[in-house]
């Protein structure tokens, strides 16, 4: 249960971090909060030759609220985001309360969650439901990727060697109805299934729908079929179409249950999250 030896670097700028990573030829890994990486290293599932700790890079630690978007620096902890965004986008705060425990959220970071790309990541589902984009800096410069193109495959984010996630940009919703529901075996565990629902409603009718699913497949995913089914429906009673999510998910069999059970859970969390959105005052 102890990590293998590595070289430790603690750069103070993004440019320096990118340089260290590119010079190290893919053998180096970014260390953010370490809440996923350190256990993987302790189990020796990964043994990087170098860790580039981005914890001292001040420019990654900001939350900027502009007129249209909120930018959350990659180094912002889950807990800080939860507390800061609560009044602005309550969906984020409510979703993050399901992420591990306070002691995990005090240290784990937004960028670390996105880069880790766990299929049960709350950040993944929230980013998808909120139409957020992810900014990335690497040897070739900066780029921005929509959340719905960022999660490529099982624990595989759209990151090239030497690239680091620098922030998450969330468009400020003018008005939204939202719901967040997840089911986990114990409080703080990774979810078996979860749904983040973001509805734009005009005159009681759903004009726009975005649904992010966690635990529904190999990545956090968008429920396109369910979104289409919801669009144009009366908000009241919309939860009835939750089973449309069947076409969007492809859960995996694992030690927590068979795929068909998780498929069923996906329906349940969507139904409850849509109802939550409909019932909110």
């Amino acid at each position: 249960m102890k990590p293998a030896a590595f070289v430790y670097e603690r750069p103070s700028s993004i440019a320096e971090a990118v340089q260290l990573l590119s010079e190290a030829d893919g053998e180096a890994k970014v260390l953010a909060g370490g809440q996923s990486l350190v256990p993987l290293m302790a189990f020796r599932l990964v043994s990087p030759s170098m860790l580039v700790d981005i914890g001292a890079i001040a420019e990654l630690g900001d939350i900027d609220s502009g007129p249209d978007t909120i930018r959350i620096g990659a180094g912002v902890t889950h807990r800080r985001a939860e507390l800061a965004l609560g009044p602005v986008i309550p969906l984020v705060a409510v979703g993050l309360r399901e992420l591990g425990h306070v002691a995990i959220r005090n240290v784990g970071t937004v960028g670390g969650s996105l880069a880790h790309a766990d299929p049960a990541s709350e950040w993944g589902a929230l980013a998808l439901a909120l139409d957020a984009s992810i900014s990335v800096t690497g040897p070739a410069g900066e780029r921005s990727v929509g959340a719905d193109r960022f999660f490529l495959d099982w624990m595989q984010p759209d990151l090239m060697p030497g690239e680091i996630v620098t922030g998450l940009h969330i468009p400020k919703p003018s008005s939204m109805r939202w719901g967040f529901v997840e089911i986990a075996r114990r409080r703080g565990d990774f979810a078996l299934a979860g749904a983040a629902v973001n509805l734009g409603v005009a005159d009681g009718v759903i004009a726009t729908a975005r649904v992010g699913i966690l635990g529904g497949g190999v990545t956090p995913l968008r429920a396109h079929t369910l979104e289409a089914a919801l669009t144009g429906m009366d908000l009241v009673g919309a939860a009835e179409v939750a089973e449309a999510v069947d076409a969007d998910v492809d859960p995996l069999d694992d030690q927590h249950g068979p795929a068909r059970y998780k498929r069923r859970l996906a329906r349940v969390v969507c139904e409850r999250a849509i109802r939550q959105a409909a019932e909110a005052a």
């Binding site: 030896a5 370490g34 809440q35 302790a42 860790l51 002691a103 995990i104 005090n106 114990r186 409080r187």
Partner: protein, 155 residues
Amino acid sequence: MKVDLELTVNGEAVGISADPRTTLADLLRDHLGLTGTHLGCEQGVCGSCTVLVDGHSARSCLMLAAAAQGREVTTIEGMASESGLHPVQEAFSRHHALQCGFCTPGFFATVLEMMSEGVLADEAIVRERLSGNLCRCTGYHNIVTATLELLGGRP
């Protein structure tokens, strides 16, 4: 290659050089002799290694000592004073909120953070906040009672 670290532990400045793979828990236990911080699972799940870093609860098994550079760490050894036990220790003792004591230092860190945040003395909230700390002895009931009392609710 070792890294040179400077941090504060229980109010005292510590300068030490350590292998970068040393976790904060191992630094505390093996290098500084502060064995009150207990290691159960070493994967972030059990909560027994929880300490305060800059006043916030953190798993010392998941934080590299190197990442604690310049920070202020509080462990169980920093709680009691010359004048006696800390109120959290008093309350846990009074309510029989510990048996073997293995999990207790981690619970104290969690409870101290709740007290400093002014968390509401509400049983549901308290149970949720304590859910990241596992205790195999007590059944939690007395821990919840002690915590509610510390937060100003009626025990």
